[in-house]
Symmetry: C2
């Protein structure tokens, strides 16, 4: 009965439509630069042609090592428009790590920003698959090419201007033959072992974009500020989602409080995404102040403490708390508001908002299961592993059938995160599996301890890890950054925790530190805190 | 690399999720009745089991002849949950027309409201495929079964209570094996020939629901008033869309101004859909008054006149003007707002808002083509046929491969509607192909003449058709309903039109009438006006 085949789902259709409907509307703003959607589409077309001219063929990988610049946004359309696969690489990685990703993905072309050229020169030295390194000079940031690095790269180096000059303005099809074709590979910054290449499909990216639009309440007048790196889970599919809805992207090279507040006020930013540490940066910037227009922050990466949620609300931010992993295109679940929440005291509401919640509209929902894949009781206390499935879970790990099979054991993707299922069906993350503290046989959620510490008015940031204990095997230890001008002693903080949660969960020690080690996406690197504590021991209680 | 198969798209997942996330939230309100989403899901499950118990098997058709009751909403989930196909029948059809649809669709079960039982008794008399007629008594409306009709139906008649008692509460899978499986068949109320069965798929219904959510700006606090019949294009997929977003449905048995205003005020309705005639009913009701909360009306079916758009805006309604056909799951395009529109004078803005616009976010976009499928110039004056394609176009006509092939000639669905493409890419409907008036070789758009008449302050409603003319072949004739208490003569109205558009387009005659003939969805039945004018003639100029 099917008269014509249905259209294959692809986020390419979003830019095609938006450029047609709003050709003159600002698509992306960066410093003094601004590109209309017509120009974004024209550049995507030109870059796609240029990639083809560089020998990129259907299914080939194209790597980008670039901050949140307009060119990085363009890449999210240009690479799939060339029928190729985008590998957006974390800009904080070392040359060795970048080399591994380039080699593993077999990227043919690497597009980078001049600032990273010395690292790139070292990275590509032994990577033969990369036939060209395209370098972009960010005039807004005064970026220029380092001559020594250029010399080291040699004839493979091509300027972005020369590269795009090889392109053409001839229209290409904003479509894909099969929606299950990979659109991108995102390498996870695992704390142990080699990074894994998480494969996203056109279909998954398209459907996840709708989820972002629905749950972050995007609309055609959205002004979205890029604080989340686009290289992180393809910015949770937001390059595609905001383009699809016809909003405006505002790029930011570096996530600093002053610059964020300037952009918020100058462009009347309506939406931004970021880890709680980004939120902390915003809240504690010298320029912070009450908002005079609505701004929704969609936050994930770690559960925001109820204290942070309260602070945000007082300043006028709307908060959407989501949870997911690289393997789930970024956000998979949301702490979806319930009608009765508005009647809760603000601190009670913050507690429920900090839950990981329920699967987003485009998902199949979350399960919390035991080792036999049986759902744990929905009692808010039985811990199990969070598993997911469906259109918003990766197609698999690139060139890693074993890893893929293991991750999907039992037909569901294993997050490695431990959580509980509340009686209302909302999931609460209790710990990343590797971060849980097992003390005298009891699991202690480091998140619970962290949230107890965050509720102290002098605390800015905190991380809790398990450290060796002769009697209990492990005990929690906390690392705390105090707010500027605030004071608190170790004993005072431990006592504060004991008023909030069971005494056995309180940390034995607290180190007051100036800052915490973080990944480029703002996640606290607990392994960096944990390792020195375990130095010299041959056994850890757990992974 | 695909570790697990992706999830098949189906609107069933919307109710599964919403009932899980908001089990206690009002899902549907009707008079004094209210069902939570948990109850809606429970009823859908029970009805699905009951259908199976009645012998309905996978792929079988189940017909519903019912007004906008909660049971009709439940049907949109229960029938696909039983892996069957919903045939929602227009309640204004004659027994003979209903019999044709039951026979053509091969429906095994017919579920109806007691009010239609006499018609149903006549309809099913010779239709042997229908093994059971389930009758629902709407206690809110005092509906009861007519004994004579019941006797005529005989042993095939089963009460809705007995029917659901056969069901069970055992959980069923809210999924489908193949997203391209038909979910419903909607028979078009063609003005000539037999109605055609338009097949919708699970995938199309799912994706179109996202389009409705995006373009009508639905959110989890939406309160949606059912003025659009659910039997019309499955209510533009709104049973699925509003359920998916977690809003509340408000049912209404009959579309009367008083009842609409009562519901708007009692339930603080945020959204409703309807043809311009529904809008006219709302605007001109005795109870009409300025709104004290935001309410978006999504309107289609015929282009609203700029005059109507202005009136709506003054009363505080937000307006979304969409365009589509039964074959496109209802709306396919939208008069998407442009940033510069807000600077336009309100009458100028109304003119652009009355355009059919651009394809919605989930579509491939509209084309306006000549007979050789070549796009007409985008000059706002070259007329051509509007064609569409993609996920939001039907799978085909049921049991009509020839009709399907003809409708999809050249790979695009032919709307039969004539329009122009403006230089900005917005389509403007000039006429339903069959309604255009050809006078002295010139095409006259009846819509243009109607809008000129609507701009007269005494005019409530208008319809223009072509009538025979010795000299010109055809000339436009208008039928006008005046507003209560307003006066205008034929000559005065004709003169008014001449000040607005080319003189040759002005109607030769105007009949002032008490009301216009309409379909159940509020579309004016032009053929009923046209036929008497052509009586006794063997030839029509066209159509």
């Amino acid at each position: 009965m099917n008269a014509v085949s249905h259209t294959q789902l692809t986020p390419l259709s979003f830019l095609e439509r938006t450029a047609r409907v709003w050709p003159d509307k600002p698509g992306v703003i960066y410093g003094n630069r601004s590109l209309s959607y017509g120009e974004v589409a024209a550049r995507a077309t030109r870059v796609a042609h240029a990639l083809r001219a560089s020998g990129v063929q259907t299914g080939d990988r194209v790597a980008y090592l670039m901050p949140n610049l307009p060119e990085m946004l363009v890449a999210h359309f240009a690479v799939p428009l060339a029928q190729a696969v985008l590998v957006a690489v974390n800009t904080r990685l070392s040359a060795e790590e970048i080399a591994y990703i380039l080699d593993h993905s077999g990227a043919k072309v690497l597009v980078t920003d001049a600032a990273f050229l010395p690292t790139v020169a070292a990275a590509v030295q032994d990577v033969t698959t990369v036939t060209e390194v395209i370098v972009f000079e960010d005039t807004e940031a005064g970026g220029s090419v380092d001559p020594a690095a250029a010399a080291a790269i040699g004839s493979r180096l091509v300027s972005y201007a020369d590269f795009t000059a090889r392109g053409s303005d001839e229209q290409l099809n904003w479509s894909v033959e099969d929606e299950l074709t990979p659109i991108s590979i995102n390498y996870t910054s695992g704390t142990t072992g080699r990074p894994k290449g998480v494969v996203y499909t056109h279909r998954g990216a398209y459907l996840n974009s709708f989820g972002e639009i629905v749950h972050s309440s995007h609309h055609q007048d959205s002004v979205y500020l890029w604080t989340l790196p686009m290289f992180h889970c393809n910015g949770w599919c937001t390059p595609w989602a905001v383009t699809g809805i016809g909003g405006t992207h505002v790029c930011l090279r570096e996530v600093r409080g002053e610059a964020i507040w300037q952009q918020i006020r100058e462009h009347r930013v309506t939406h931004l995404n970021g880890a709680p540490t980004v939120v902390t940066t915003i809240l504690n910037a010298a320029q912070a102040g009450p908002l005079d227009h609505p701004l929704v922050i969609t936050t994930a990466g770690a559960p925001p403490s109820p204290t942070t949620i309260l602070q945000m609300e007082r300043m006028g931010f709307g908060i959407v708390h989501v949870y997911g992993l690289t393997e789930t295109y970024g956000p998979y679940s949301v702490a979806q508001a319930q009608p009765h929440w508005s009647a809760l005291r603000s601190d009670e509401r913050a507690v429920v908002q900090a839950r990981q919640g329920v699967g987003m509209i485009q998902t199949e929902g979350l399960r919390v299961v035991d080792e036999d894949m049986v759902d744990v009781p929905a009692d808010g206390s039985s811990m199990g592993e969070i598993v997911m499935r469906g259109n918003n879970v990766m197609a698999g790990y690139y060139r890693d059938p074993e890893g893929t099979a293991k991750a999907f054991a039992g037909g569901w993707f294993h997050s490695g995160d431990l959580g509980v299922m509340h009686p209302d069906g909302y999931v609460e993350l209790r710990d990343r599996a590797k971060d849980v503290v097992i003390s005298g046989g009891e699991n202690i959620s480091t998140i619970e301890v962290e949230q107890a510490l965050m509720s102290h008015e002098a605390v800015l940031e905190v991380a809790v890890v398990g450290v060796p204990d002769e009697k209990w095997g492990e005990r929690p230890k906390a690392f705390v950054v105090l707010k500027a001008g605030k004071q608190a002693t170790e004993a005072e903080l431990i006592e504060h925790v004991r008023t909030k949660i069971a005494r056995y969960k309180a940390p034995r020690n607290i180190d007051l530190v100036a800052e915490l080690p973080k990944t480029s996406t703002g996640k606290i690197q607990k392994f960096a805190l944990r390792e020195p504590e375990w130095a010299g021991r041959t056994h850890r209680v757990h992974g």
